[in-house]
Amino acid sequence: MGLRSVTEGLGIERAAQDGRSEGLARVLGWFSLGLGITTLAATPRVSRLCGVDDSRTAQIVLRAAGIRELGHAAALLVPRHAGPAAWTRVAGDVMDLAAAGRAMRNRRDVRRRRLTYTVAALAGITAIDLYASLRATRGRRMTGANRAYGSITVNRRPEEAYQFWHDFENLPRFMYHLQAVRVTGDRRSVWTAKAPAGRSVQWEAEIVEDRPNQLISWRSVDGAKVPNCGRVRFMPAPANQGTEIRVELEYSVPGRILGNAVARAFGENPQQQICDDLRRFKQVIETGEITRSDGTPEGTSVHAQTHQRPARPLATTRTA
């Protein structure tokens, strides 16, 4: 059973690829390839069609544009996720429009008419490129930054894992981005997360669904600065050898600047963070403590693993 079927079985929407924007990027890539080859192979005819067959400089500019088109084609056709590369085409379009506008100023009659058609065509292409670029970029941000999924098996019964998690005040023990969670009512709690520059972000959350020993889902109540929701599932591992835990978190990105701050509040990489959180959850629920070594005194995290201290005691006191 692959990850996909597992997550679909749980009703977890996979970080969906925006298939249409990817497809559009590919079409634009083939278009660039065709345009580039045509321009380079038949520069005189293309220059006549555009109304600039009277200038040596224009021929050079046209050839340069042809070579550039091949660059766009490579950027759009080679990578697996080519969508954002459509922005290179938008930049090229701006250059072409500027060049054509300049060429129009000192031409008349047939050539001027042909240049007008060229500018109109360029404007149309620019609109398509802009649409493709925006869509690809927005699509990526939607799918990548604000959804995280992780899973782990713990050597505890589902009831124990559920109960530990259900007391939200336990969460900051293993979710390092949380400073505190305070339970304020039957279904309500107030969450405080670390934010950049020593500040913090606070929001109120409510339990949406609570199936004992199986599932807890929660979401921030209306008006939260950081609208977010999460869901954790507990399932007996095969042959009842422990419990499989699957967590998904989602939060919306209200604006670019605030969005970045929020993303950082949730960790540089929410996907990585949820994996670290789950490892620490396993340590706490199985052994009663966070695993610490001299190289990683603050406990498991990808950051600690890439910034190891030497394996020798620290000079300063740290308490458990």
């Binding site: 098996t153 050597n155 050898q241 422990g242 994996c275 490892r279 396993k282 340590q283 199985e286 052994t287 009663g288 403590e289 966070i290 695993t291 610490r292 070594s293 001299d294 190289g295 990683t296 005194p297 406990g299 498991t300 990808v302 600690a304 693993q305 190891q308 201290r309 030497p310 394996a311 020798r312 005691p313 620290l314 000079a315 006191t317 740290r318 458990a320």
Partner: protein
């Protein structure tokens, strides 16, 4: 405190470092009375284990006295207890630990994500054995922090001297597990590659578990002599005779029932050309480990026999005789020793006088001389078998 630190490949230094402290409820701080240099420490010295950092304290075979104990230690340990500590750090609570696979503890490596990149899943943490295996300070020091002390330490209540119980922390259980993995039946022939401490203890254990004949293979005459004189094994010097032919002859063509690789990643080959081939590949990072002993063990073993690999390997090997393993129905078993499983029963055997592990000690020196001890041990000077460091 003083501690033996890794500086760079082939460079160690005894440095003054801060004293360890309790970081977690189930920790203890142990004042080290004796520690030992292990053959696997030489892989660190030689630079074959990745993820070492300048200043890392080495040492995973040590014992001493508990001088500080966390609030959460479960096992009735007290400050002042004399303990031997097993080299794998194990929580005792996870799926692996509860099945006795302590060295594969799922919780004790805080750097599991690094190990997963190299190994798929992570093994447990080990004292003083790289950041890949946790980044824990080791025991070649005056003091050491012991996480999960209630699982990792065994209390020594008799007045047995350090020399008799120190090796419960690593080489004795490793040798014992090597033999146990062979599932020896009475009268079996067991061949062991490597006559270092683990090989010697594997031979002792093979006899204890019922082997009829034990054959030890090495190239150092003094090590082979020890295997003959102290353990009663037969020996083959692979620089003097062809191992496959000799084993075939000794078993009248059938081959040993079980073969133990107690050599690991820095094996030597009698043929200079073949040795140079693997050494060159290792230098070019085209393979990380030199598996001469393992290859030979597989080819030597009788049809349907068992290979027990306990010598340390770090990464990838080359020219693995899979065809021989598969077509001849061999079983291959392996693992870092699950020391916590063997410490108490082996302590019992030491107490009863069935094993006296102290026969391997050839050198005893102060912690200040640790780098010299490594040098003597690595270069097999002065018939060195095992160096014990006294704090």
């Amino acid at each position: 405190m003083k501690a033996n630190c890794w500086v760079a490949p082939n460079k160690l230094a005894v440095e003054d470092v801060p004293d360890p402290q309790i970081l977690n409820p189930r920790d203890a701080v142990v004042r080290v009375t004796s520690s030992a240099i292990c053959g696997s420490d030489l892989h660190l010295l030689d630079g074959f284990i990745p993820a070492m950092k300048r200043g890392d304290i080495l040492g995973h075979e040590f014992m001493g006295e508990i001088v500080e104990l966390g609030q959460g230690a479960r096992d009735g340990l007290r400050v002042g207890d004399r303990v031997v500590v097993g080299f794998p750090i194990a929580c005792g609570d996870c799926f692996s630990c509860q099945r006795g696979l302590y060295s594969a503890c799922e919780n004790s490596n805080p750097n599991a994500a690094i190990a997963e990149v190299a190994m798929g899943h992570s093994p447990g943490g080990i004292f003083g054995y790289s950041h890949l295996l946790g980044g824990y300070a080791g025991g070649q020091a005056e003091y050491v922090r012991v996480p999960y002390v209630d699982v990792g330490a065994v209390k020594i209540e008799d007045d047995l001297p350090d020399e008799k119980v120190l090796f419960l922390g690593d080489v004795l259980p490793t040798g014992y597990m090597a033999a146990e993995l062979c599932e020896i039946k009475p009268g079996d022939v067991v061949a062991i590659w490597g006559a270092g401490p683990v090989g010697q203890f594997a031979a002792v254990s093979a006899y204890l578990l019922g082997a009829g004949q034990v054959i030890v293979i090495d190239r150092y005459p003094y090590r082979l002599r020890m295997a003959r004189d102290k353990v009663g094994a037969e020996t083959i010097n692979y620089e003097e005779s062809d191992v496959l032919d000799t084993l075939r002859e000794m078993t009248a063509g059938r081959g040993p029932d079980a073969c133990i690789d107690a050599v690991g990643m820095e094996g030597h080959h009698a043929s200079a050309a073949l040795q140079a081939y693997d050494r060159a590949k290792q230098a070019m990072k085209a393979e990380s480990d030199r598996p001469h002993a393992l290859r030979e063990a597989i080819l030597s073993c009788r049809n349907g026999g068992t290979i027990s690999a306990v010598g340390s390997y770090g990464g990838f090997i080359d020219k693995f005789p899979m065809g021989s393993l598969m077509n001849r129905s061999l079983t291959m078993r392996s693992g870092q020793a699950h020391v916590q499983r063997f410490m108490r029963p082996l302590l019992e055997r030491i107490r009863k006088g069935e094993i006296d592990p102290s026969f391997i000690i050839t050198h005893t020196m102060g912690i200040d001389d640790a780098p010299l001890g490594y040098d003597i041990f690595k270069n097999k000077q002065d018939e060195c078998m095992k160096v014990v460091l006294k704090a």
